[in-house]
């Protein structure tokens, strides 16, 4: 089991190294295939571990494998180890599986780009980093993977480094993530001090002896890390800007890697969070607030990728909600179905953008349904899964989270209501996008570049196959678990993270009916306004268009104080430090101007001065004696 897991981890890294090492000795196409095969091999190895694991008894499935001691200091030592348990294997399958589909898609999408080799090396590194994050056998390797995911996202978001906006977006993502990383590192230092170890088992075992203050601080630090990586309130502002990266990168960030890391972290360290129930409530609350806010903002976005990006924030909000109330398996299950349909939506949007020569504004699209019927079908499946309409996958996973919230007391009911409001918004913004892009008559921009899907060389098989596979997964992937009826995912994951809430059959039924109805109403409203056009489209609210002024607020809170302080210190430096130096210089120069008249340049003057001084000295000596 663990040898295969090591292969899973190291193959993408090897792929990146080979591409980098061979450089221009290989063609771009070969580099692309190296990355794809590395990820596919990684997925195959993950499947091997999974099958191996299924052959074992449920309580004997976790295995820690240490390659060597990474470092040791006194009684504290950390090994380069991987932990293969149900949770890790679950994540490995998603990361390498969806990841390799996206890399395969990139072969077609990035064809002809100048720097394909660099792109594919980065993609491999990204998958490797995420695998390190989920397989890491202790907190240190979790943090290393965490940081490397941030680095890879920086490299890929800024892939078009000749575009200033892409560079700015990459920096923003990196800085926001660094805030989370720092908080997380502080939490880990506290853990080292208090428990003397970074091994999961040891830390969880000794956590019960700690004071509530320590536990709350640790949980808060971890939560800050999770919030930054998963783009939740209040560290979410990097995600929409991250759309500057190529579309498959967005798919990778949103579906397989990166943003799901926060959910994984909370589930992985759930013993710590359970000892700090208030922090857990905060996590659930942040998830609920984010899902509502992102849903509202998604309503007014006009960039097709940004609409999907906000929907990701919203869906990750559901997962945080689930992880926060303790419905761990449901959160992970939603993570999986979300990976399927979100990758599908991004890759479908990528085809649309590609077909329209880079057009991303949905207001300039329209009528693509007849021109791109297969893409339309794929996007429709993705949208239905996102909205949670049965029998598509989102229905099975999202409703289970909300049903769990009903079992969590009064606070749970608040979360439940917010989640249902989010379900309505999801239907509305998703189908607004679908109707505007695919419905109606072809717009001027579409008529200019009419896409012909059937004979279009733009949609190569490398792009079509991943979209097809993801369409199938998004449609039926939710069938793995039907809450209350069959629970294969929960059965698999519960030994790692025992759920805190257990929804009854009635709660499941009520939630499902209400959520599906609200989603359907959302779709209906979207149809009424954007397809049938029976009502005029409401004017976009300025507050939402400006994304609730988060960027402006951060400018005001962090950028301006820093800028003002810096310019004040700049003035001080110029006045006091530099000024004092110039004053000394000026003083010496003024003195020198007076003294220089002594220097006549006449040798005889100097000689006379010497002789006269000598004479005076002789006189003095003689008279004194």
């Amino acid at each position: 089991m663990t040898p295969a897991a090591w292969v899973t981890l190291l193959l993408p890294a090897a792929g990146a190294l080979v591409i980098t090492g061979l450089g221009t000795a290989i063609s771009r196409r070969v580099a692309a295939w190296i990355a794809t095969l590395a990820c596919l091999g990684s997925f195959a190895a993950a499947v091997v571990s999974f099958v191996d694991m299924l052959g074992r008894a449920p309580d004997n499935r976790a295995e820690l494998s240490t390659a060597w001691t990474w470092f040791s200091a006194g009684s504290f030592n950390v090994g380069f180890s991987i932990l293969v348990d149900q949770l890790a294997v679950f994540m490995m399958l998603i990361v390498s599986g969806v990841g390799s589909l996206i890399v395969l898609y990139s072969i077609g999408y990035m064809d002809g780009d100048d720097e394909e080799r660099r792109y594919f090396a980065y993609m491999s590194i990204f998958v490797f980093s995420m695998l390190l994050l989920v397989e890491g056998g202790n907190f240190l390797f979790l943090l290393i993977g965490w940081g490397m995911v941030g680095l890879s996202s920086y490299l890929l978001i800024g892939f078009h480094h000749e575009r200033p906006s892409a560079v700015a977006a990459a920096k923003k993502a990196f800085v926001m993530n660094a805030v989370g990383d720092a908080a997380m590192a502080l939490a880990l230092f506290l853990l080292i001090q208090k428990t003397g170890s970074l091994e999961y088992g040891v830390v969880f075992g000794r956590a019960g002896d700690q004071t509530p203050l320590v536990l709350n601080l640790v949980a808060l630090g971890l939560l800050a890390g999770a919030v930054a990586k998963s783009a939740q309130l209040p560290l979410h502002t990097w995600l929409p800007d991250a759309m500057e990266g190529p579309t498959p990168v967005s798919a990778l960030i949103h579906a397989a890697t990166m943003v799901t890391a926060g959910v994984y972290l909370i589930v992985r360290t759930h013993p710590l969070f359970e000892l700090a129930p208030h922090v857990q409530d905060i996590a659930a609350g942040l998830g609920a607030a984010t899902l509502l806010m992102a849903g509202l903002i998604a309503l007014v976005q006009t960039d097709i990728k940004r609409v999907i990006a906000y929907s990701t924030m919203s869906q990750i909000g559901y997962m945080f909600l689930g992880a926060g109330i303790g419905a761990y398996a449901s959160a992970m299950f939603h993570l999986m179905t979300h990976a399927f349909f979100k990758a599908l939506l991004f890759l479908g949007a990528g085809i649309v953008i590609h077909a329209l020569s880079g057009e991303q504004d949905i207001r300039r699209m329209g009528g693509l349904r007849h021109l791109m019927p297969k893409t339309y079908l794929a996007m429709l499946v993705g949208a239905l899964a996102l909205t949670g309409i049965p029998p598509f996958s989102g229905f099975f996973s999202k409703d289970a989270i909300l049903a769990g919230a009903m079992d969590d007391g009064a606070y749970g009911y608040v979360l439940w209501v917010v989640g249902l409001a989010g379900a309505f918004l999801t239907g509305l913004y998703t189908f607004r996008m679908i109707f505007v892009v695919f419905g109606g008559e072809p717009s001027a921009a579409v008529r200019e570049h009419p896409p012909h899907e059937e004979h279009d060389p733009l949609v190569k098989w490398t792009m079509a196959v991943p979209v097809g596979v993801l369409t199938v997964l998004a449609a039926i992937g939710g069938g793995l678990q039907f809450a209350g009826v069959w629970t294969s995912v929960s059965n698999f994951l519960d030994p790692v993270a025992e759920p805190l809430v257990e929804a009854s059959g009635t709660q499941e039924a009520i939630t499902s009916v209400v959520a599906v109805l609200l989603g359907a109403v959302g779709i209906g409203v979207a149809w009424w306004i954007y397809s049938a056009r029976r009502a005029p489209a409401p004017k976009p609210v300025v507050a939402l268009e400006r994304k609730l002024w988060f960027d402006e607020a951060y400018d005001l809170l962090f950028y301006w104080p820093a800028a003002v302080t810096a310019s004040a210190f700049n003035g001080l430096e110029r006045g006091a430090v530099q000024g004092s130096i110039t004053a000394v210089v000026d003083g010496v120069r003024a003195l020198a101007l007076r003294v220089r008249s002594i220097q006549t340049g006449l040798v005889r003057t100097y000689a006379f001065a010497i002789a006269a001084s000598l004479a005076v000295l002789v006189l003095v000596f003689v008279s004194v004696r």
Partner: protein, 102 residues
């Protein structure tokens, strides 16, 4: 040992030194200045040797030899400078060499 006493030598040395110093101070031709300088050095040498004799200590005479060596080197450099000035057709006048005026 016979001959004039040391004070007589010292008087001559002082006269020589004063003559040289006057020459250095008032003459403008670099050649004469150099010449006057040599006279000053020789005045000093005479005083050194006179004291050496009076004190019965040979180091004064060694000093005088060293001064002669220095004087010889100095003349070489000084004359070299004067020749260079002459080659450039500069006026042989130390008062005109005042480029270093502050």
């Amino acid at each position: 040992m016979s001959g004039p006493d040391v004070p007589a030598y010292l008087v001559i040395a002082a006269v020589l030194f004063a003559t040289g110093a006057t020459g250095v101070l008032i003459r403008r031709s670099p050649l004469i200045v150099l010449l006057s300088l040599e006279i000053m050095l020789n005045g000093a040498n005479l005083a050194l040797i006179a004291f050496s004799r009076r004190l019965g200590d040979g180091s004064g005479q060694i000093f005088a030899l060293a001064v002669m060596a220095v004087a010889a080197s100095e003349v070489v450099v000084g004359l070299g400078l004067i020749v260079a000035m002459a080659r450039r057709k500069l006026d042989l006048d130390v008062d005109k060499l005042s480029t270093l005026r502050g």
